[in-house]
């Protein structure tokens, strides 16, 4: 069957771009959109994919990652769909891409002003853990009534002695909207702030688009006496590359049974290892 360029019909793409413009205009605000079904399953990245498909042009260079890897099964699958329907060039090099779609990571290489990072979002509503109803959470955002989000963190401290929110740690965008940054690790939260590139977030099943425009203030929720903490890889070195200070995968050596670590952002790791005078 003959396919459209970038799968969707042009009216749909136009609508998604209009909603995206609104999202950029109101940083952190979740803009409802009429999410289309795609050949990829709901919950597998269809929000991000709709953003990518609505934005991509023939001159774009595409990078798709999942769990920090260009070769992760879902990244391969999504990239193949985009390429099959557009024929655009792809790359694993973060710098070379104009459009980057990612699940669960912001790349280690900082974004450039010409780049758009699209994040796939499973659960866009940061208040959902404290309020199941959509009509009420919408009202709470309108009223900037975020005591539920704060109390949740406070109760964690009371119960466990520390904040236990792991990935998808809530942030306050531009001093106005509390936002779910998608399940990026806390390690990536600081990269949201004052970024040179445009970050778009798309939730297909929940039918929301939101954005962190370049140079926006983004603060992870925390208390003075319980500051925000990222995952700690302080004492850890990547066994493959010798890199430190990056997000690591924890692995087990099958022969020795020992735990070891490896850089999660594999394209970054390969680039670093190919540089002259690399650590390893």
């Amino acid at each position: 069957m003959r396919q459209n360029f970038a799968f969707l019909d042009e009216h749909s793409k136009k609508e998604i771009r209009r909603k995206t413009l609104k999202a950029i205009s109101i940083p952190g605000y979740q803009v409802p959109f009429a999410s289309r079904e795609l050949p990829i399953a709901r919950g597998w990245g269809t929000g991000g994919l709709q953003l990518t498909l609505s934005l991509i042009g023939q001159a774009d260079i595409l990078k798709v990652i999942d769990q920090g890897s260009d070769e992760s099964v879902n990244a391969v699958n999504i990239r193949r769909l985009i390429q099959d329907t557009t024929g655009v060039k792809d790359t694993i090099h973060t710098d070379a891409a104009t459009l980057i779609q990612s699940r669960h990571r912001i790349p280690e290489v900082p974004l450039k002003p010409y780049q758009i990072l699209v994040l796939q979002v499973p659960l866009p509503e940061p208040l959902r853990p404290v309020e199941p109803s959509e009509r009420i959470t919408k009202q709470l955002h309108a009223d900037k009534e975020y005591s539920g989000a704060w109390l949740r963190l406070f109760e964690q401290i009371m119960r466990y002695g520390s904040i236990t929110d792991d990935a998808d740690y809530p942030v306050l965008v531009d001093g106005r909207y509390v936002m779910a940054p998608s399940p990026i690790p806390r390690f990536d939260n600081p990269k949201l702030e004052d970024n040179d590139g445009l970050i778009l977030l798309g939730a297909g099943r929940e039918k929301k688009i939101y954005a962190v425009p370049p140079y926006t203030k983004v603060a992870s929720l925390a208390f003075e006496d319980h500051p925000f903490e990222v995952e700690s890889f302080d004492d850890v070195t990547c066994r493959e590359s010798g890199l430190t200070g990056v997000y690591m995968d924890e692995l087990i050596d099958e022969t020795t049974g020992e735990t070891y670590y490896m850089t999660n952002d594999t394209s970054y790791m390969i680039e670093e290892m190919n540089k002259e005078g690399s650590v390893k």
Partner: protein
């Protein structure tokens, strides 16, 4: 280092897809789309209804391609739907103009226009019949046409009788432009048109289960009466230039249900007494999908007339969880790799155990 998923994803996926596609073809037993279209009408009806795309050829193709897997077939059609520009809405079509093939009332023994059983498995014995499976072509006995006194495309409705008796107070016509949840996502509180559209696209099993819960004990908790189930061919017209001169574009098969729900009148009478009346639940589906249409009518009622804390009275609970593509997609995504987030969880679990770091 073999098992570390840094490289090799592409090859592994290609091999998996090839294996899946090869598996679909058992040599010598291939069937054609036309076979499915000719033999699997009810499956086609269910899939068109959940996919909200009325196209028997494409539904049959989706069944073949999905190896008969319902959720996959619906998914294929929904995805295809996203590639099509939506150029027209039909004009208002009235089910009083339906060419009726089947029509049953559970509320009255005899109804104006008569009960028309049509084709239905309702009164078959569910005994596995290997004649059917192995005999192939059976010679069909000729039907004797039962003469009918009414025009089948102008049958009266059972609800007219209740209305004449003053037992059903018809609501004023609502001529507002209906919302379209495929163009504007549902916002809560939802409108009735959003609810009806969402319910008719719902997964058959999910709609049936929630409708069942509503009448069994969590909500209305009582028995509705089916005023009328009708199945037939419904003419569809479009009026692209808004001239009032609409073009006929074809018939679609529909199932329509009007369920009578005994209920209190909204307002008390002059003496301050509450009167009983009948209210209505409405179901309408693509194709012959009678159970789903009945369950839909129950849920239409439960969302119009909420009862306490019943989940089936909560539009968000019902509408956000009955869509096949959404529920199967999110449940199945749990198979995807999650090791970045899991690492983050590990970090916090270890933190609470006071053994942070290693």
């Amino acid at each position: 280092m073999g098992y570390v998923a840094v490289k090799g994803g592409t090859k592994a996926i290609q091999a998996s897809v090839r294996m899946y596609k090869d598996k679909q073809h058992a040599a010598g037993y291939e069937i054609e789309v036309e076979h499915i279209k000719a033999n699997m009408n009810q499956l086609i009806n269910q899939i068109m209804s959940e996919a909200s795309l009325y196209d028997r050829d494409l539904a049959a193709l989706s069944i073949l391609q999905a190896e008969g897997n319902m959720e996959e077939a619906v998914f294929l059609l929904r995805a295809h739907r996203s590639t099509l520009p939506r150029l027209h809405y039909s004009t208002v079509t009235n089910t009083r103009d339906m060419f009726v093939e089947r029509r049953v009332s559970a509320s009255f023994k005899d109804i104006p226009g008569g009960q028309i059983l049509g084709a239905s498995p309702d009164f078959t014995h569910r005994l596995l019949d290997d004649d059917q499976s192995f005999a192939g072509n059976k010679t069909a006995e000729a039907y004797t046409e039962i003469p009918h006194t009414h025009a089948l495309d102008a049958l009266p409705k059972v609800i007219d009788y209740l209305e004449q008796e003053g037992l059903f107070s018809k609501k004023p016509e609502d001529d507002r432009e209906p919302d379209d949840i495929t163009k504007q996502s549902i916002e809560f509180p939802s409108s009735r048109s959003e609810r009806l559209q969402s319910l008719t696209r719902g997964q058959t099993g999910a709609v049936t289960s929630l409708g069942y819960a509503e009448i069994r004990g969590y909500g209305y908790s009582s028995h509705p009466n089916i005023g009328e189930v009708r199945v037939g061919q419904q003419p569809v017209h479009i009026d692209p230039f808004d001239t009032g001169d609409a073009y006929y574009i074809g018939d679609i098969e529909l199932t329509e249900v009007e369920a009578f729900m005994p209920a209190d009148e909204d307002d008390m009478d002059d003496l301050g007494n509450t009167e009983k009346t009948f209210k209505i639940g409405y179901g309408l589906t693509f194709g012959q999908n009678e159970t789903k249409a009945i369950a839909m009518s129950v849920l239409d009622y439960s969302l119009e007339h909420p009862v306490g804390d019943a989940a089936t009275s909560d539009d968000e609970f019902v509408l956000l969880h009955i869509d096949s593509v959404e529920s199967t997609g999110f449940i199945s995504h749990l198979k995807l790799p999650h090791y970045v987030t899991f690492q983050s969880v590990l970090d916090r679990v270890r933190q609470t155990k006071g053994e942070h770091g290693q």
